[in-house]
């Protein structure tokens, strides 16, 4: 009973139905714990004062924005190679979540940077690369909406996602080169490695876990609705012939 067996949409519906409530519960717990702990029970940073509390939403959102696109890339590859509908629809369901995560990362990043940089938008390379990632998400979703035939839509968006990933990485370095970072990042670097004093670190882990589970829940629900819509259209199409 290989993993691919769950690529069958109907089986996937049953499995995801059982798993969904638990993941939702887990995500809720982690989010609440992470945010409450981070918001109320951590001291202010000696230099940045209370704005450090923003890391509990900015870092997880930024992480999810990047990993959402990576997940869509993997799902697109699976669709192109093994032609499993669930992975194509999962990629489609993940896109809006990734888009909102990027938006959150952008806004919280700008708010966080304001006191340090003195302006709302300071073309910091990291924030700019999220702005570009945001455009990639917009393009990806726009292509999904523009094509009627579901199968060729899945193929085309998968190819766009793969090509887009290459250019996203290129843009990431081009932006870094373009502006070596107006201001050095705060004591915390926005990328994955977190050099943070540990009393900030544990709540951060929780809120990251919370965001990851939230992402999973939303993608599972999204994929299920995509499958149902596809199933309905197939039934209708088959009936009226």
């Amino acid at each position: 009973m290989s993993l691919w067996e769950y690529a069958n949409p109907v089986k996937f519906l049953n499995l995801s139905g059982r798993v969904l409530p638990w993941v939702a519960l887990l995500s809720a717990i982690c989010l609440v714990v992470g945010l409450i702990w981070g918001f109320f029970f951590t001291p202010d940073d000696y230099r940045m004062g209370s704005t450090v509390k923003i890391i509990y939403i900015h870092v997880p959102a930024a992480l999810m924005a990047i990993n959402a696109w990576f997940m869509m890339l993997v799902a697109s590859l699976i669709w192109l190679i093994r032609r499993h509908h669930v992975s194509a629809l999962a990629a489609k369901a993940a896109a809006p979540v990734g888009l909102v995560m990027t938006l959150i990362a952008l806004i919280t990043g700008a708010i966080w940077g304001q006191p340090m940089w003195g302006t709302w938008w300071a073309w910091d390379p990291r924030l700019t690369s999220f702005l570009i990632l945001f455009q990639f998400y917009i393009g990806y979703l726009a292509l999904w909406k523009a094509i009627e035939n579901p199968d060729s839509a899945a193929d085309l968006t998968s190819i766009l996602c793969i090509v887009g990933s290459v250019f996203a990485v290129l843009s990431r370095y081009a932006v870094n080169f373009w502006n070596q970072g107006l201001h050095q990042g705060a004591s915390l670097s926005l990328d994955k490695e977190k050099n943070v004093a540990n009393e900030f670190y544990h709540p951060l882990l929780f809120s990251i876990a919370g965001f990851v589970f939230l992402f999973l829940v939303l993608v599972l629900i999204g994929t299920r609705s995509e499958i149902r819509i596809r199933r309905a259209s197939v039934i209708v199409a088959r009936k009226i012939r």
């Binding site: 949409p9 199968d151 499958i227 197939v234 199409a237």
Partner: protein, 208 residues
């Protein structure tokens, strides 16, 4: 009789809709098949699948590589190029240099230097059919070739196809009009292959 083309239990779908199932036939050199069938059956999709433009749902098509020359409803003629330039372009693509035989076969010699945009529908159709000769490929796939052709041009077309059959070519023709191509031509009614069951493997099947 050397088989130019053989098709085994072919299933054809168009955007998730199964149209025809278990289509089987063979085509020998020098033979022509005329396909009849009601509108909307998917005759055009059928020809596109045979000529390799579109993948079939299932089933096999045995034919030599690059042996199809396909003519669709759309003429594929560039209005801003002259007749000769249009044909010369395709001659370069199929690297066969003499476009004169094709021009004379369809009586386009005197229109050689005229812009294709100024041609009548019938003349454009003849220019499109002239491409068949240039491609010098054994199996001709013609989708409504005689549309917008006057009687003189239809006989001209019949002449060309018979000539093609004589020197070992073959042809698959979908037409509502009547084309008499002599003894070696059979008529097939595609209606009987109309699909009545879902076929496993088509994209939508997985959702049921």
């Amino acid at each position: 009789m050397f088989m130019v083309l053989s098709v085994q239990d072919l299933c054809i779908a168009r955007s998730g809709q199964v149209l025809m199932t278990d289509v089987n036939f063979e085509l020998a050199a020098g033979q022509a098949l005329i396909f009849k069938g009601p509108n909307g059956l998917g005759k055009t999709t059928f020809l596109r699948v045979i000529s390799g433009l579109q993948p079939a749902l299932s089933g096999k098509i045995h034919a030599k590589e690059d042996s199809f020359a396909y003519t669709a409803h759309a003429d594929g003629v560039k209005p801003s190029l002259t007749v000769a330039e249009n044909l010369q372009f395709w001659a370069d693509i199929f690297d066969n240099q003499n476009i004169d035989t094709a021009l004379s076969a369809f009586g386009l010699n005197d229109l050689k230097s005229r812009f294709a945009g100024l041609l009548s529908a019938g003349q454009k159709r003849r220019l499109c059919l002239a491409r068949m000769l240039i491609s010098n490929r054994p199996v001709w796939v013609l989708d409504e070739p005689s549309v917008s052709l006057d009687t003189a041009s239809v006989t001209q077309l019949e002449e060309v196809i018979k000539q093609h059959l004589q020197n070992g070519g073959a042809a698959l023709i979908v037409t509502h009009g009547h084309l008499d191509l002599g003894p070696s031509c059979k008529t097939v009614n595609l209606g009987e292959y109309k699909s009545n069951r879902a076929v496993y493997g088509d994209g939508a099947e997985a959702f049921l």
